[in-house]
């Protein structure tokens, strides 16, 4: 209360004091109007310029990042496409090496078969023996007009001879046809063989053609990447996102498996490392040990798949010579089998511990022991043991989605970062524009309390203007 009273000129008359203070403040604000407008304008201008500069920098950085992402994406895509093309070429080379290296022999065989068929065909095409010459003589005799026994006898002899010759010719003709049929029959397998060879060749050529088409497709993609085609870039980005989500999903499933695995071995691990040991306040050593076992299994799986060249997360392993890689593969596999064995025995131990504890609880509660129902009560134990052995191998395959995640994560993060930077740049630019407009608003707001002096100023200006106008008019009229 006394604080604001000290501001009053005349504490007894508050209204008068406030009026005096208001007038003084108004006068001060009016006097400081031009510099204050300058300050407001400068500050807003400063903010506008700064935000503009920052926004521009963000846009440029986003663009640089996009270009870098594009380079990485295309390089990665090129690498992938080159690998696929290489594999396709390998397949083609395999087909050529396996199937088409027999092509000359096949061709020779085909030609032989064709020659044989042609020969057989030629043989089968023999013309039947022509009718004997005496047919014409017979015709001449038959045209004789004079009757008698001589022509009749002659004709009978001729008839007999003809009949004889006819029979002989017919039998020869039949034999000849039989032989030709035999030749044609013998040529049948050759035709079939030719047909088979031709269809085989067609099939191989079709496979080769399919491979060639695939290679063409990959080469087109590769060319698109080389020319930095936006369509290809978009396709690669989309593919990276799809890959990221799919591999993420698989990873989540694998994590579920790992969790089950962890639950399976956490309790029996306490038998090995002690149930009452803690690393931190809430972190049991046995839990950490179980986790380490699972992580080691995953690592061994990773090394195994690396050495099998299924994944390529470690260039060092990929560039190893085959003998060394083979050794690494064997070592990883042995470790994995050992760990799977350990886990299986831990699963058995878990079952034993649980059974023992349940028995103790029954003893403590003075409840009659449960009678064993038979072999099927052992099923959960067997199931646990099998799971304990199988899960590490299943977990080993997590390396594949992990590789996909790692590779696609860079693209995904890059795209998200670029979009975030662009979004932020837009917001900052918007704020800058707002400040540009707000400067005028602040000037007007400043002018509101000093509206009376401004009005007086305008009035005085108007008055002066009128006076000077009148003076000018007067001077104009006298001149």
């Amino acid at each position: 209360m006394s604080d604001w009273h000290s501001w009053l000129f005349w504490p007894d008359s508050v209204a008068l004091s406030v009026l005096a203070l208001g007038t003084l403040a108004m006068l001060f604000l009016y006097a400081a109007r031009t510099p204050m407008h300058g300050v407001i304008h400068s500050l807003c201008h400063l903010v506008t310029q700064s935000t503009r500069f920052f926004s521009r920098w963000l846009f440029l950085s986003a663009e640089n990042l996009r270009l870098r992402n594009q380079s990485v994406l295309l390089a990665h895509g090129q690498e992938g496409a080159a690998q696929i093309i290489e594999r396709e070429f390998e397949r083609v080379a395999d087909i050529i090496r396996k199937d088409l290296h027999e092509f000359p022999a096949l061709q020779r065989k085909l030609m032989e078969e064709v020659t044989r068929i042609e020969e057989d065909y030629r043989k089968s095409g023999e013309i039947p023996p022509p009718p004997p010459e005496w047919v014409n003589a017979l015709e001449s005799v038959s045209k004789l007009k004079s009757g008698g026994d001589i022509p009749r006898k002659l004709l009978e002899d001729i008839h007999k001879s003809i009949q004889k010759i006819h029979d002989k010719t017919l039998s020869e003709y039949r034999r000849s046809y039989e032989e030709r049929h035999k030749i044609l029959k013998a040529a049948q397998p050759a035709w079939r063989s030719v047909d088979k060879l031709a269809s085989e060749m067609e099939k191989k050529m079709l496979t080769l053609q399919g491979n060639a088409k695939q290679i063409d497709g990959h080469i087109t993609k590769y060319e698109g990447m080389r020319t930095r085609d936006s369509k290809t870039e978009h396709a690669l980005t989309t593919s990276a996102f799809v890959q990221f989500f799919i591999s993420g999903l698989v990873m989540v499933i694998a994590m579920g498996g790992a969790f089950i695995n962890y639950k399976l071995i956490a309790l029996p691990m306490s038998e090995m490392v002690g149930a009452s040991d803690y690393i931190t306040d809430s972190l049991k050593t046995s839990d950490v040990a179980a986790l380490v076992i699972i992580l080691m299994e995953a690592s061994m799986g990773l090394f195994l798949l690396e050495s099998l060249r299924i994944t390529q997360l470690f260039p060092r392993i990929a560039s190893m010579d085959d003998r060394m890689r083979h050794r690494l593969m064997l070592a990883s596999l042995i470790f994995l089998i050992i760990l799977a064995g350990i886990e299986s025995s831990l699963a058995l131990m878990r079952d034993m511990l649980i059974t023992d504890k349940a028995s103790l609880m029954r003893d403590l509660a003075s409840v009659a022991p449960v009678v064993e129902d038979g072999w099927f009560t052992r099923i959960p134990m067997a199931g646990q043991m099998i799971m304990g052995f199988v899960l590490p191998f299943a977990l080993a395959f997590v390396a594949i989605p992990l590789e996909s995640t790692v590779h696609s994560l860079r693209t995904v993060i890059g795209v998200l970062l670029v979009q975030s930077m662009r979004g932020l740049a837009f917001v900052i630019r918007f704020v800058g524009v707002m400040f540009k407009r707000i400067a005028k608003v602040l000037e007007l707001v400043y002018d509101i309390p000093i509206v009376i002096p401004i009005m007086i100023e305008n009035w005085v200006k108007a008055l002066r203007g009128n006076v000077s106008d009148k003076g000018q008019i007067k001077s104009g009229s006298t001149s």
């Binding site: 309790l267 306490s270 038998e271 490392v273 002690g274 149930a275 009452s276 040991d277 803690y278 690393i279 306040d281 050593t285 950490v288 040990a289 380490v292 080691m296 090394f303 060394m324 050794r327 690494l328 070592a331 990883s332 470790f335 034993m352 511990l353 023992d356 504890k357 103790l360 609880m361 003893d363 403590l364 509660a365 003075s366």
Partner: protein, 220 residues
Amino acid sequence: MKRILLIASVLFGSLFVTACGDSRMHSHAVYMLVDTSGTYAQEMNKATRIINYLLASLNSGDSLAVAKVETRSFTEKDIIAKVTFDKRPSQATTQKRAFKAKIEEFAKQPLGSAFTDITGGLIQGAEYLNETQAGIKTIVIFSDMQEELGQGTVRDFPIKLDGIRIVALNVTKLRTDNADPRLYLDRLARWEARVRKAGAVEWVMVNDLENNMESILKTR
């Protein structure tokens, strides 16, 4: 491959080295005093149930001791059974069975003492619990909390129960309490004040053994 072997051995090594960390701070130690004087001698089956509950609830690394309250209880001879459970759960289960057998054997013996030296039992219990170096220390008193000291037994001095929880179980009302309930309430209030003054972190009373057994080990 040598490098991989080295990494694997380092991992295994670190696993077993870390397994050797101090675990006492996370363990629970319980000292149970069982009143064997007068009518309380007939309550032994109830005490056995509580001991069984403790056996079922305590884990590897925890400690449990059961002692009887007699004419003069500040002696280790009054400890019926004591155990610190092994780190391995399978061994701990075996120890629990052996402990249960000891308690059952004790319960079969004829009980009954002329006086009730609760303070002596508390001092003995505190000594035992401090030796265990457990993170949570609890003294469970299965008694009507009516202390009756024999001639020559001196217990009217300040005791030390720093960092120990005190749980009074099955505090039955005496005939005189029924006549004047203030006696019962005053007795409990006096004990609470005494143990709190001695440095006890908590005073819990559990009379409903059917539904409130969890309060014995539950810390606030």
